[in-house]
Symmetry: C2
Subunit: 352 residues, 2 copies
């Protein structure tokens, strides 16, 4: 087996502690060397979780004094890659510094707060990576949940896609641990929770439709249903693919309704997709045959961290972590929000 990848964990938030730390510990090709967080307190908490698992790491933070800053961490020769999970507004700056220092990066979705910022980041990445050879991967854990990939395969077997419907309803309550992250409670980026969680759902839908049925344009209206979720908690959209097919896309993070439906209709049947449960209906009407397939529940983070480390070691970036995919996820969401801002004016997409 190849030497494990020396990794630093950047960010001390909920998702880092609860998902990335266990994922890094679980991968035989990851060796965590250091952690960094804005506050020493948070960085030490992460280090403690690692120590409890027998992994002793160096602790860095913004308030640790000389030799313990993010820049100092980037100088470590034993750290080849960084896993970043930082507030949406901050992340691109940290990514750029890491790439400039020649560190491979796996950064949490969304790739950026908006398309402009994402495009600038990608431009910088292309330029700097020629020199430093550092690679940028975006972590979209939905791409590592087995149900979505299986459903995409099922859809391909049922003939032409003829329609689809996405319905994601839930209530982000004020008691939710994610709600209480200050940068999420008072978001300084478009869409608020619609952006933060929303790119997961656009990623899932894009995977189901495939490039052949990529979304070409959207019209949408947006609103704020629950006042604790500014600026918007509801997007109601109609998507049209490059093949002309229409689909409905509704995402509300502030509703009493509950749903998580991803339905894709094809000529010869339809598929109800999900992260760990997929229903395939073959045929139409009374002759239709239904088949259900379930998968072990997984957040996909363990799989994605392992896949990333293997890809870095092998020198071949993982296709499901390409920043261009994350750009497409963000574009689809942003265009829905923009259409909503423009009273439903049709928005064309170009990164699908």
């Amino acid at each position: 087996m190849a030497e494990p990848l020396g990794v630093a964990l950047i960010g001390g938030g909920i998702f880092m502690k609860e998902r990335h730390v266990p994922a890094a510990l679980a991968s035989p090709v990851v060796s965590v060397k250091a952690v960094w967080s804005r506050s020493l307190k948070s960085a030490e908490e992460t280090a403690k979780v690692l120590a409890d698992a027998g992994v002793i790491v160096e602790v860095y933070s913004s308030d640790s004094g000389p030799g313990r800053s993010y820049d100092d961490l980037l100088k470590r020769p034993d750290v080849a890659g960084l896993i970043l999970a930082l507030p949406i507004m901050d992340q691109p700056g940290y990514i750029e510094k890491a790439l400039a220092a020649g560190k491979h990066v796996l950064a949490e979705k969304p790739i950026a707060k908006d398309l402009d910022t994402a495009l600038k980041l990608l431009e910088y990445y292309k330029k700097v990576s020629i020199e430093t050879k550092a690679t940028l991967a975006i972590a979209e854990n939905f791409r590592f949940m087995k149900g979505w990939a299986y459903a995409a395969d099922e859809i391909k077997k049922l003939g032409r896609v003829t329609g689809f419907a996405v319905r994601v309803y839930f209530m982000m309550q004020t008691s939710n641990k994610y709600y209480n992250t200050p940068w999420r409670t008072t978001p300084q980026y478009q869409g608020g929770f619609l952006l933060d969680g929303g790119v997961h759902y656009t990623a899932a839908l894009r995977g189901l439709l495939g490039e052949e049925n990529a979304v070409a344009s959207v019209i949408a209206l947006t609103s704020l249903v629950s006042s604790h979720l500014p600026p918007k908690d509801t997007v109601n959209a109609i998507l049209q693919t490059r093949t002309g097919v229409l689909g409905s896309y509704v995402h509300c993070a502030g509703t009493t309704m509950k749903a998580s439906d991803f339905h894709v209709a094809c000529e010869q049947g339809y598929v109800e997709a999900g992260p760990d449960r997929v229903v395939t209906v073959r045929g139409v009407g009374e002759d239709a045959k239904t088949e259900e397939k379930t998968f072990e529940k997984s957040f996909g983070v363990t799989e994605e961290v392992h896949a990333w480390a293997e890809a870095v070691i092998s020198g071949k970036p993982h296709p499901e972590q390409a920043p261009e995919l994350a750009l497409g996820d963000l574009e689809l969401l942003e265009k829905m929000l923009t259409s909503g801002d423009q009273d439903g004016a049709r928005q064309a997409l170009q990164y699908q």
Copy 2:
């Protein structure tokens, strides 16, 4: 008990034979005196069904010769009311003649093929009824299915409406008996099956939302998914109420997907409505309590015919059969189709 209402049945199609004839027979306040259909063959078939139930009627048709025409039927003093179920294009002309002859009318939905025709019909009705005292009722059987009314009451108990979603998916197959009615196979009216069946769903939604949350505007895209269902079989719309609330409305008559969902979210819970099954969820998240209520399955036609006859006898039109309601049902559907024709341009509504 009052004298039963003398009634003639106009039209010999599937819905007349299968629904209105049994409904008329079931009502103790209806006495069928005559039937009319375009063809004698069809009229005689209807008469036969009645005769089998012990009710002997006079038969009229377009091809029965002198003294047996629609006009002749309208001269019968023993016929006080007409139940009409005719092709969408033809119906208004027959309604107007009946009203002019002083006959009360219960006519099948939709009120007309489009808003213009419906408004002209209503104008004529208002004028002629001053003279003849004849009343016009539109038969929307969904308004007589118990589930919808119960659901509307449940919604009122859950606070402000905050969102809604309608999803009606099915495949109108070429083997369907309704599909094979010539005027439906090659429709000469907007929307094809979307209009014919669609007003049922707009009626249901309007009932659930109530006047307080009436739809004020729509944006929509439309398409033809299954080529045997011209001109359109799919409408994908976003509705906005006068209170600013957004809802999703998707109706596809040519898809392999199957659904019939009418979900309304309120501040304190949500309701999944249906004709004979209603689920009320009170509260949010883990504390939410679910209650399901079922009703005996019914097309509502027996109830509506009986209610109409009682209303005519009592001289007080039934509020759920007011032609203005049917106008609203049609307007909501037509504006979605129009928005689709205009590439999603927002359409304002005025008869809600």
